[in-house]
């Protein structure tokens, strides 16, 4: 296992706004192991999504080094697939076609059409949506849309899966259900995953480590917390686990004591 699969060194991001330079992120240093699940948590406006966009390449960094699997990150690419907060499925394509678009882009040069279709089918199977393959996004629920988004991202067999508040727009019950789903999928694929979230329970439940961001402007990593809870994890069992409560308390303390802010 590569210890420094995703590597950020002295990363900073400066936006040139009308009212002058705005330093969003500074001195971000982070190394993510291959196969690791890392959550980035912080108050809104702390630049956690910006950090994810830097790793995905959708935003260009203003300084520092970003490396993924031994190569410098220069622009977005299918090796770092993103699940967007608002699913971003193309509304004029069925779920199958949405996933197929990604599969086709990545594997078309090496595989026959039947293989591409099989991959698409498998991706939908992984998120349990084969029955909705030929529905359009507006015909399915928000949770299902997000699952298609995850299927699309995973179908590309990315080196790193980037989740940008993937469950932020869902109701609490659907959210819990999908967290379990992500837990299962990550265990099944072993994909290196970086997730932005503002949900403490979600972060503790899913992650191997939680990266806690200080408040912006000029946000940086405040603390990194190891979540050494054994896997597989069960939501209900964890609730009675003193270690879980302790870790959860530590994240909350960071967010509300050390980085508290008037909303």
């Amino acid at each position: 296992m590569e210890q420094r699969y995703v590597l950020l060194e002295n990363v900073q991001k400066v936006f040139d706004t009308r009212s002058g330079r705005f330093v969003a992120l500074r001195d971000v240093n982070l190394a993510v192991r291959q196969g690791e699940f890392v959550s980035i948590i912080g108050h809104s406006g702390c630049g956690k999504s910006t950090l994810l966009n830097l790793i995905s390449g959708l935003t260009e960094s203003s300084g520092g080094v970003l490396v993924c699997a031994g190569r410098e990150i220069a622009g977005p690419g299918p090796d770092r697939s993103v699940v967007f907060q608002n699913h971003s499925l193309l509304p004029w394509m069925t779920c199958f076609e949405n996933v197929y678009l990604a599969v086709e882009r990545v594997f078309k040069s090496q595989e026959a059409k039947a293989d591409l279709q099989r991959r698409t089918h498998e991706a939908l199977e992984l998120v349990g949506l084969v029955h909705a393959a030929h529905k359009y996004p507006h015909e399915i629920s928000g949770g299902m849309k997000q699952r298609v988004g995850i299927a699309r991202a995973l179908s590309m067999q990315p080196k790193v899966l980037l989740l940008d508040e993937p469950l932020g727009a869902l109701d609490a019950l659907t959210r819990a259900h999908l967290q379990d789903e992500i837990l299962r999928i990550v265990a099944a694929t072993g994909c290196t995953t970086i997730m932005v979230t503002h949900d403490v329970d979600e972060a503790v439940l899913l992650s191997d480590r939680i990266v806690m961001m200080t408040n912006g402007p000029a946000a940086t990593i405040g603390q990194i917390l190891d979540i050494d809870l054994p896997r597989p994890r069960q939501r209900l069992e964890l609730l009675q686990d003193p270690r879980y409560l302790c870790l959860r308390g530590e994240v909350l303390r960071f967010l509300y004591e050390r980085q508290d802010r008037a909303a």
């Binding site: 995905s56 608002n86 971003s88």
Partner: protein, 299 residues
């Protein structure tokens, strides 16, 4: 008139079909149980249908009455006289007595052909151009002053330019249609391109799709509804302008027919022409609304 009434009937029957089926079953069941008379079962549907049919019908009746009243005061041909004349006109729509005396059918077809050519050329140039100025900011800023300057120009002001360049009436009329119907297509397409949600483009960037895939899978479907709005506005403008253009350029066509009948002082025919222009315009519009509905998507 006939077409309008027909349309109202079609709408009525559609309405009854859509709502009657489950209610009829329920009503039938109720009738079996309670042995009710036939009429009340259909009463709610009938009332609902009437609510859709009565107001437009009343509007048309009032319009005809007002027209009759005005005609007695001003000496314009009234509805009855016009109706008689229309029966003759539509009785033989495709006669040909030389270039200046042809049936109403030919006139409509010639006008439609001119609109189709002028509008088709405008779409062929306007839509790709709209895509380009929507995609490339530089091009947008470059063409913005020219578009704002030329767009408000009255269509007929372009006619002399066309006549001078083409030396002939027919291409000049087409030129006027072209230049006046191109703007809504350019502008709506360009606006559509700039309104493509950033999320979709981010998907394209993460997948690193090539330009053709971005266009065919993302840009084009996202822009299509805007584009079709532009097309609808354009065809409306084209149909508005054709009558005026043909009045000035001559040749077979509705505009020329109106002018010719004015010279003959055949006012009934002018009124008939007005109805024909209105109805054809309405049909064009409705056809494009149907096309647009086909391509709507729900985000």
């Amino acid at each position: 008139m006939a077409v309008v009434k027909l349309k109202a009937k079609v709408e009525m029957s559609k309405h009854v079909d859509a709502h009657a089926a489950p209610a009829v079953e329920a009503g039938a069941a109720a009738a079996v149980q309670k042995n009710l008379p036939l009429l009340p079962r259909y009463a709610p549907q009938l009332l609902a249908a009437l609510r859709y049919v009565v107001p437009p019908a009343l509007g048309l009746v009032l319009f005809v009455l007002l027209w009759a009243q005005i005609s007695t005061l001003s000496g314009l041909p009234g509805p009855v006289k016009t109706w008689d004349s229309a029966q003759q006109v539509f009785g033989n729509p495709f006669y040909q007595n030389g270039p200046n005396d042809q049936g109403i059918g030919w006139n409509v077809l010639h006008s439609l052909a001119r609109v189709a050519i002028g509008f088709g050329l405008a779409a062929l140039i306007g839509i790709p151009f709209g895509f380009m100025i929507g995609r490339f900011t530089f091009l947008n800023r470059m063409s913005a002053p020219i578009i704002s300057l030329l767009r408000p120009v009255s269509p007929l002001a372009w006619l002399p330019i066309g006549l001078y360049v083409f030396k002939e009436a027919q291409p000049a009329a087409i030129w006027v249609i072209f230049i006046s119907s191109i703007w809504p297509m350019i502008i709506n397409t360009a606006v559509g391109v700039t309104r493509v949600p950033q999320d979709y483009l981010n998907v394209a960037r993460v997948l690193r799709l090539n330009e053709w895939k971005v266009f065919s899978k993302i840009l084009f479907p996202a822009v299509l509804p805007y584009m079709l709005t532009g097309v609808r506005l354009s065809i409306g403008v084209a149909w508005l302008v054709i009558v005026a253009a043909e009045m000035l350029t001559g040749g077979v066509g509705l505009g020329f027919w109106v002018w010719d009948e004015w010279n003959n002082l055949n006012v009934e025919h002018i009124i008939i022409a007005i109805f024909v222009v209105g109805i054809v315009g309405l049909l064009l519009e409705q056809a494009l609304v149907l096309v647009a509905k086909r391509f709507e998507y729900q985000g």
